[in-house]
């Protein structure tokens, strides 16, 4: 079976976006321009969702578009999905501000 397609936006990104429905165990070809990186999906990644290209320790910054989109709220393993359950945005967070003041 051909590898499932994913897209890396910029060279220093540590996530890729699934361009089709990826099932657990699928081979994934993550394209960056003309290059491609392969990995194995450790879980299902729906179309349009993000997959970790490498192990990302808790607290580490997560990059897409070559920019920071948040940090890992738990350790994230290569090939697993990155979404709100393990990625935390850090901007415009009134709750963090309130906690810091308390």
């Amino acid at each position: 079976m051909p590898a499932k397609r994913a897209l890396i936006m910029q060279p220093n990104d540590n996530v890729a976006t699934a361009l089709e429905e990826i099932q657990v165990g699928d081979d994934v070809a993550a394209a960056l321009g003309k290059e491609s990186r392969s990995l194995r999906a450790a879980e299902a990644i729906p179309f349009g969702f993000k997959v970790a290209l490498q192990d990302i320790p808790q607290g580490e910054l997560i990059r897409k578009y070559g920019e920071v989109i948040g940090r890992a709220s738990t350790a994230i393993a290569r090939g697993t999905m990155v979404h709100i359950h393990n990625l935390e945005g850090t901007r415009a967070r009134g709750d963090l501000e309130r906690r810091a003041r308390a």
């Binding site: 897209l7 936006m9 976006t17 361009l19 729906p46 179309f47 349009g48 969702f49 993000k50 897409k64 578009y65 920019e67 920071v68 989109i69 948040g70 990155v82 979404h83 709100i84 990625l87 935390e88 945005g89 850090t90 901007r91 415009a92 967070r93 009134g94 709750d95 501000e97 309130r98």
Partner: protein, 395 residues
């Protein structure tokens, strides 16, 4: 590229040729019901109890809609002539709209025999004005006469990887040709403001971009809320977007790569041609009215729609005087709403078109619609009221 448009006395060029009847009320509604070719604006706020700043903003919106090049002539009616807030007096609105050189008529129920007398005279005037407007022919003009505004909504990850880049390609082409292009949604540049600031034409503009984002972020923090319960909105999260920063970084692709000439307020007219950032709010019933008041002769909604096909959303367009286009890169959204969507860029994800081919096709569709081809939203006689972006409290 070029398009066929209506050249106005001030040199601006319309893509449509309406007689505008404002503000909203029984007089405008009845005239518009009776006379084809007229257009009213649905708005629920007439400024009562509003601060002077916000009244001025309402006036700017009404004057801007009247001066929009898609409007051939204007009928204004006075709700309470000679009284009321100075900013919103009909004489003032009429005078400033007329500065653009187009014909402006004022109905005054006090002189025209009350509400029904004003309606009667208004219908007679409107019939004459739509006839006069119909005499004008379109002329071939360059893309420097395009003035566009965009918002992205129901964003999902197809928006960031294909939909917004397609808009960005179009924006670059329009700016390159000497046209005007506006983007905004201040909350949705938080996390990406540094990228935009690098593209500012000078240091002042860069600072103004950063200041807009900082002020909006401070407002969010002051609420004590976790922004993630508000924005990204649930449909964004369902479409794969995980944080406000990710949403913002995908959203700014729609601005293309041209230098940013300035930061505008809601409904403020760009002083020159080129690309502008507008400090505004994302709501689609709010943002497009602001762009059109600023002079946009065509506006675009780049829709993600992932997981939520957005059917109901797609049936209504804001009550404005510019063709309103729907674009999407999401194959599911497109399949669910082909009758409403003007442009599909999911071909780039599917690998059947290069980003450049998809962008060129978008440009052709936009110039066709600017020339008179109907936007899909124009094939349905339904509009939603506009929601003016007024930030100050009411009393």
């Amino acid at each position: 590229m070029s398009f066929w448009g209506f050249v106005r006395p001030d040199g601006s060029v319309g893509t449509r040729n309406y007689v505008l009847v404002i503000p909203q009320g029984i007089i405008a509604k009845t005239i518009c019901d009776m006379v084809p070719g007229t257009r009213g604006i649905l708005t629920v706020d007439h400024g009562s109890g509003r601060t002077a700043n916000n009244r001025e903003q309402i006036a700017r919106l009404l004057i801007g809609l009247g001066r929009n090049p898609n409007v051939a002539s204007v009928i204004l009616h006075a709700a309470s002539p000679g009284v009321g807030y100075p900013e919103l007096r009909v004489e003032r609105l009429a005078e400033e709209i007329a500065q653009g050189g187009k014909r402006v008529e004022v109905l005054d129920p006090a002189k025209d025999g009350g509400t029904y007398g004003a309606i009667s005279r208004g219908i007679q005037l409107a019939r004459m004005l739509v006839y006069e407007a119909s005499v004008q022919r379109r002329a071939l003009v360059g893309d420097d006469q395009l003035c566009v505004g965009v918002k992205c909504g129901y964003s999902d990850t197809t928006s960031g990887i294909a939909g917004n880049p397609a808009v960005g390609y179009l924006y670059d082409k329009i700016v390159e040709a000497g046209g005007t292009a506006m983007f905004g949604e201040t909350t949705e540049i938080i996390g990406a403001e540094h990228v935009l600031a690098r593209r500012a034409v000078n240091r002042q503009v860069a600072q103004a971009i950063l200041d807009s984002a900082t002020a909006q972020e401070a407002r969010a923090k002051a609420t004590g809320l976790d922004i993630r319960t508000v924005n990204p909105v649930p449909s964004n999260i369902k479409g794969g977007i995980s944080s406000l920063e990710e949403k913002s970084l995908g959203a700014i692709y729609k601005a293309g790569t041209s230098p940013i000439q300035g930061v505008l307020k809601y409904a403020e007219r760009p002083p020159r041609k080129g690309l502008y950032f507008v400090d505004n709010w994302m709501g689609h019933l709010s943002i497009f009215a602001g762009y059109v008041a600023a002079g946009a002769n065509l506006v675009l909604f780049q829709l993600g729609g992932g997981g939520v096909a957005g059917r109901t959303l797609l049936e209504g367009s804001p009550s404005i005087v510019a063709p309103f286009l729907w674009a999407t890169a999401n194959p599911k959204t497109y399949a669910a709403a082909r009758d409403s969507i003007d442009y599909y860029s999911g071909t780039v994800i599917e690998g059947t078109e290069t980003p450049e081919e998809a962008g060129e096709r978008f440009h052709r569709i936009v110039t066709d619609i600017a020339s008179g081809t109907l936007a899909r939203s124009e094939t349905l006689n339904y509009t939603d009221p506009i929601d003016m972006y007024l930030e100050e409290p009411r009393f």
